[in-house]
Symmetry: C2
Subunit: 159 residues, 2 copies
DNA sequence: CGGCATCCTTAGGGATACTG
DNA sequence: CAGTATCCCTAAGGATGCCG
């Protein structure tokens, strides 16, 4: 069984596209580290406070400070002041739309880990609110077909 | 707009599940580095040879050797000898099923980078072979509904 | 509470040269 | 062709302590 893509036409020879435009590589420059991924995980789980990020991700506060600053600089998190009635002003970090759209990446990592790295299929699962059915990431084409990885063509974008 | 999940029932307080069982964290222990991700990208693109991995990922050969060994040790790639008729024996690296199932992770990273990190939506795209429609990763529940990130419950797995 | 300063250790990675 | 050996540099991250 071959696990590679169909490479069509002008994508080969490979000089046809520059490695520095690869958007997988670019994404990994924005989220280069394990701690960055796990801080995003916490943000999806609803964590907003500095000390909670450090504690729940399991990293030291200096590292948490560095990662949070980088994620804010990249526009994935927004740092904002807020004040609950009768309380002092606090800070919190919230996902921006740009950050929130990374959700499928985290779900895909979780799904793979659930299958290959845990005896019991992982500690938690995602369900469709209301419907209550299990949720998974999948590949699907614009015509609505579920797509297997063996049915893919990789082509240069039609600009 | 809130970009967090619905956390239901016993997932809170958070001590209810152990951070070391998080399968996102576990996956990132298996593929911890940018170079590991990009070697997998190359494997999907059909690269099989040592020197090609190093050159196409843009890493030095010592680093390529270390990453390839780790990926083989983790069972994502298989190293095998092969011989074409009339040629000497060569080595190649091929994706295992375990490695191949990481494909949605890479597609999700590419899709996010296409949207947020490239002026023109990315250099390449995936199309459904035959059908020729564009392919994307999406969240979908077992009942067949496309699921928005705002419609998710996170629950402990029913074991 | 939400950090920063300092010091330390380890891991990632480049360059160059060499080997079976 | 498919790597290893060596050397060096930088980044990631922990521990401790301090600050507004």
């Amino acid at each position: 069984m071959e696990h590679t893509l169909h490479l069509t036409g002008s994508l080969e020879p490979r000089g046809a596209w520059k490695a520095d435009r690869c958007t997988i590589a670019r994404s990994l420059e924005v989220i280069p580290t394990r701690s960055a991924f796990l801080i995003l995980r916490e943000a999806f789980y609803g964590t907003t406070r500095f000390a909670d990020f450090a504690a729940r991700v399991g990293i030291s506060e200096p590292v948490a400070a560095a990662r949070l600053r980088e994620l804010v600089d990249q526009g994935l998190l927004a740092r904002e002041d807020y004040r609950e009635p009768g309380q002092r002003t606090r800070q919190r970090y919230r996902l921006t739309e740009k950050g929130a759209e990374l959700f499928p990446v985290l779900v895909a990592l979780m799904q793979w880990g659930d299958r290959w790295l845990d005896e019991h299929g992982g500690p938690v699962e995602l369900r469709h609110h209301g419907c209550d059915e299990r949720v998974e990431v999948e590949l699907r084409c614009a015509a609505g077909h579920a797509v297997d990885a063996s049915e893919l063509d990789l082509v240069r974008r039609r600009s």
